[in-house]
């Protein structure tokens, strides 16, 4: 399959010892920044270490383009004290490209919201120039800064320096993975909670599950400040935390009128009123808006369109969705709404969130089969069993509609209904006492 008689591994005559890269050269033109140009610059102008690695790396990559096959295999590489966080790569064509025969990646957790000073970025560059290939990706699909291209020997030194700079390895393998959060309240008025605090609180309390992988399979957290879900949490996270609010959307009616005056009545009806998923908005005759907040699902659309006139309410918090993942093994899944609303303001609120996250991960560790994501575990045992284990009462917000299948045993229905009415009465009582 991987024959060794290609000519593309041999250095080009007259051009010192650089591998020819005819396929990659094709990707240097065009208006978008070229990664090939960057790789070549490391080969030609990088530190001595970078030059060596990058010449052979370019050779191997060009070889892949020619053969239409990848030539990396995994293995085991780690740093002292940790079991995960390094993605080992050993070349299968090391005979032709020996200097990049080990091309491991260090996954490093970024600050929530991906904020950097130029100073810290420069320090990262300096470290990676000394110990690695000089190639860094901001960021991988799990959110890690990926320091790509390091020999087994240099891995420990590179990590030590990054660690001393204030950064830690991320997750890999069957473990807690690096999390992501949107820019959130650092710069966005639509943010409904402190995403970065939630992110740091949960991940830093579960770090052991990241650094010493022992879960049945991967487990991912993602934090989005509102239903726009800028970090794609519902699709991609086992545990998605999405900002929302309970009270009314805030309307500045003067700004609404300005908006209508600017874009027109028809355009406002077409793009705001008619696009509301629950038909909760109407435009009044005086060009102000009327919103039926009890029908509103906090989808964010009207707020996205009228950024000056509309904003989330004041009684903010989060929804939590569990079980999102891609196809392997039983098919795609999105997170299921299991906590429709949770307040997230006080220290106690954050402690509650942390405790819930720990309970969910513990449920996963105890109940998932090998290589099973928690969404699959929940599918296997049924959502009611998961809710019972987590001590969460059932809520109509968890379903699109009640079951349509009659294959269920309901002889304790009255007791379950009594619990519902008791809970409703308690909530009503609490509301009265709060007022």
């Amino acid at each position: 399959m991987k024959d060794g008689d290609s000519i593309d591994g041999k250095p080009e005559a007259g051009k010192a010892d650089k591998h020819p890269t005819p396929h990659l050269d094709e990707l240097e033109g065009g208006p978008w920044p070229s990664f090939v140009t960057g790789l070549k610059r490391l080969r030609d102008e990088g530190s001595p270490n970078n030059r060596k690695i990058m010449n052979d790396l370019l050779g191997q990559l060009n070889h892949s383009y020619e053969k239409k096959l990848g030539f990396w295999k995994g293995g085991t590489v780690s740093v002292f004290g940790y079991g995960g966080g390094i993605i080992p790569r050993f070349s299968e064509v090391a005979d032709k490209f020996p200097e990049s025969k080990e091309f491991h990646t260090l996954r490093v957790m970024p600050p929530p919201g991906f904020h950097y000073t130029t100073d810290v970025l420069r320090k990262m560059c300096d470290i990676w120039e000394r110990h690695g290939s000089g190639l860094i990706a901001f960021h991988g699909q799990s959110g890690d800064i990926m320091f790509q291209g390091c020999s087994t020997e240099a891995t420990q030194a590179a990590f030590d320096e990054l660690n001393e700079l204030g950064f830690d390895l991320g997750g890999a393998g069957p473990a807690l993975r690096t999390a992501m959060s949107c820019v959130g309240r650092a710069r966005c008025e639509q943010s409904c909670y402190d995403e970065a605090r939630a992110h740091r609180t949960i991940i830093n309390s579960l770090l052991d599950e990241m650094h010493r992988p022992s879960l049945p399979y991967k487990f991912k957290f993602k934090f989005s400040g509102c239903a726009n879900d800028c970090v794609n949490a519902i699709h991609r996270a086992d545990f998605a935390v999405i900002g929302t609010w309970r009270d009314d959307i805030k309307i500045d009616q003067e700004k609404v009128k300005e908006h209508v005056a600017k874009v027109g009545r028809k355009y406002t009806i077409d793009t705001v009123v008619n696009m509301c998923p629950t038909r909760a908005i109407s435009l009044n005759d005086d060009d102000t808006l009327e919103i039926d907040n009890s029908s509103c699902v906090r989808c964010m659309h009207c707020i996205n369109v009228m950024t000056k006139a509309l904003s989330p309410g004041d009684d903010k918090g989060v929804s939590i969705m569990i079980g999102g993942k891609r196809a392997l093994k039983v098919g795609d899944m999105m997170g299921i709404q299991v906590i429709p609303f949770m307040k997230l303001e006080t220290d106690e609120d954050f402690e509650k969130l942390e405790e819930f996250a720990e309970n969910v991960v513990e449920f996963f560790a105890d109940n998932a089969l090998e290589h099973e994501r928690i969404g699959e575990t929940i599918d296997r045992v049924g959502l009611p069993a998961f809710l019972e284990a987590m001590d969460i009462p059932p809520d109509p917000n968890m379903v699109n509609h009640p079951r349509t299948s009659c294959f269920v045993r309901t002889d304790d229905f009255d007791e379950e209904a009594a619990k519902w009415f008791e809970r409703k009465a308690r909530e009503a009582g609490m509301q009265i006492s709060a007022e």
Binding site: Y65, K67, K68, I136, C299, R326
Partner: protein
């Protein structure tokens, strides 16, 4: 734990997720949680206004994601000169410069463009393609990532630097069917077309056979003795060519120069704005994995982008547009074939069928 030769190895400082405030622009820090509204003065620029009256301009530029230290340092130089020494990245690998002083916005844009970094990716644009690793670094890739992305973004550059789409259009790529690139309005994903080719000399030593058997979604793999060697065999009639067996068992090679193909999917959406989030759906399969330019893939993506751009209403995402016009019209407008392979056969398939009298003519 191969390299522990040192007598006293350094124990890691288990820092975890670092504190973001130390790297945050002072205006963002000061107005944390106190922002009032935002607007987009032009493509690639956001203006956020705080309840305190402070404001901050954000200038967004595209990068190649896989960046050499020279490129990063150049971006840092630009950040120092125009952006107070602070930057951030978006989830789609765009870099954002934060600018307090409005007068610096135009010169920053000019500088970025002159250095080859396109300014845009905001609002109703086509932002950077979400990116996987491909031949550069992955151990199981069917194609490259950076090259496909470079080709697509060269073609779509003009839609990155302006906001002329009906709504945002998010493209993803994935080099195998694990789909690390995720769901997208348009997803360009490897689709294998042949069962794995097994090297029976290696299976027993390399693969944990029961784990590989368990990994198969259609139970097509079973332990077998082949030429007297303990190995695995695949029931090729059952095999759906997903490649799930390949990562835990590299001797089950799923990739082939000809058999690794590209499929394009449409209508995935992460956000809950308007409609609920959706998965992407198959538009076309069996496009060739034609490096280094992938012209057949680019041509189809271009056609889908044009159809959406010409026909969708403002704020409709790809999937919402198709929902309105119907799949029949989508296949007509894009001149793509609807085949038996578009009809789902997996668990839950019945929920994807039309069980109504609604028909489009």
């Amino acid at each position: 734990m191969e390299q522990q030769a040192n007598a006293t190895p350094r124990m890691p400082d288990e820092i975890g997720v670092p504190d973001h405030f130390q790297y945050m622009h002072p205006v963002l820090k000061k107005n944390h949680g106190n922002w009032a509204w935002h607007e987009r003065p032009r493509a690639g620029v956001l203006r956020h206004v705080s309840k305190s009256g402070d404001e901050i301009f954000t200038v967004r530029a595209g990068t190649q994601r896989q960046m050499d230290v020279f490129t990063i340092r150049k971006l840092c130089d630009i950040g120092d000169e125009y952006g107070d020494g602070y930057v951030r990245f978006t989830t789609r690998s765009n870099i954002e410069f934060l600018v307090k002083d409005e007068a610096k916005v135009a010169p920053l844009i000019e500088k970025l463009e002159s250095e080859g970094f396109p300014v845009g990716g905001t609002g109703a644009s086509i932002s950077m393609v979400s990116h996987t690793q491909g031949w550069l670094h992955c151990d199981i890739p069917g194609t490259d990532a950076s090259g496909v992305v470079k080709g697509l973004m060269d073609m779509l550059h003009k839609e990155f630097v302006q906001e002329k789409m009906p709504n945002r259009l998010r493209i993803t790529t994935s080099c195998c069917q694990i789909n690390c690139g995720g769901q997208g309005d348009i997803a360009v994903n490897v689709q294998y077309t042949k069962p794995p080719k097994i090297n029976h000399d290696l299976v027993a030593n390399v693969c944990e056979r029961p784990a590989v058997v368990a990994r198969c979604p259609v139970a097509a793999i079973r332990p077998a003795l082949v030429d007297g060697k303990p190995s695995l065999e695949v029931d090729e009639k059952k095999c759906v060519c997903c490649g799930a067996c390949y990562p835990p068992c590299p001797p089950m090679q799923i990739n082939g120069e000809e058999s690794t193909k590209i499929a394009i999917w449409v209508g995935g959406k992460h956000s809950s704005a308007r409609s609920k989030p959706t998965f992407h759906k198959l538009a076309v399969a069996n496009l060739p994995n034609n490096a280094p330019h992938w012209p057949e893939v680019k041509e189809v993506v271009g056609r889908i982008v044009e159809a959406y751009k010409s026909d969708a209403k403002h704020w409709e995402r790809m999937g919402e547009w198709i929902e309105r016009i119907g799949w029949k019209r989508f296949f007509e407008m894009t001149n793509l074939a609807f085949t038996k392979h578009h009809i789902d056969t997996w668990t839950g398939a019945r929920k994807t069928m039309n069980t109504s009298a609604h028909v489009r003519f």
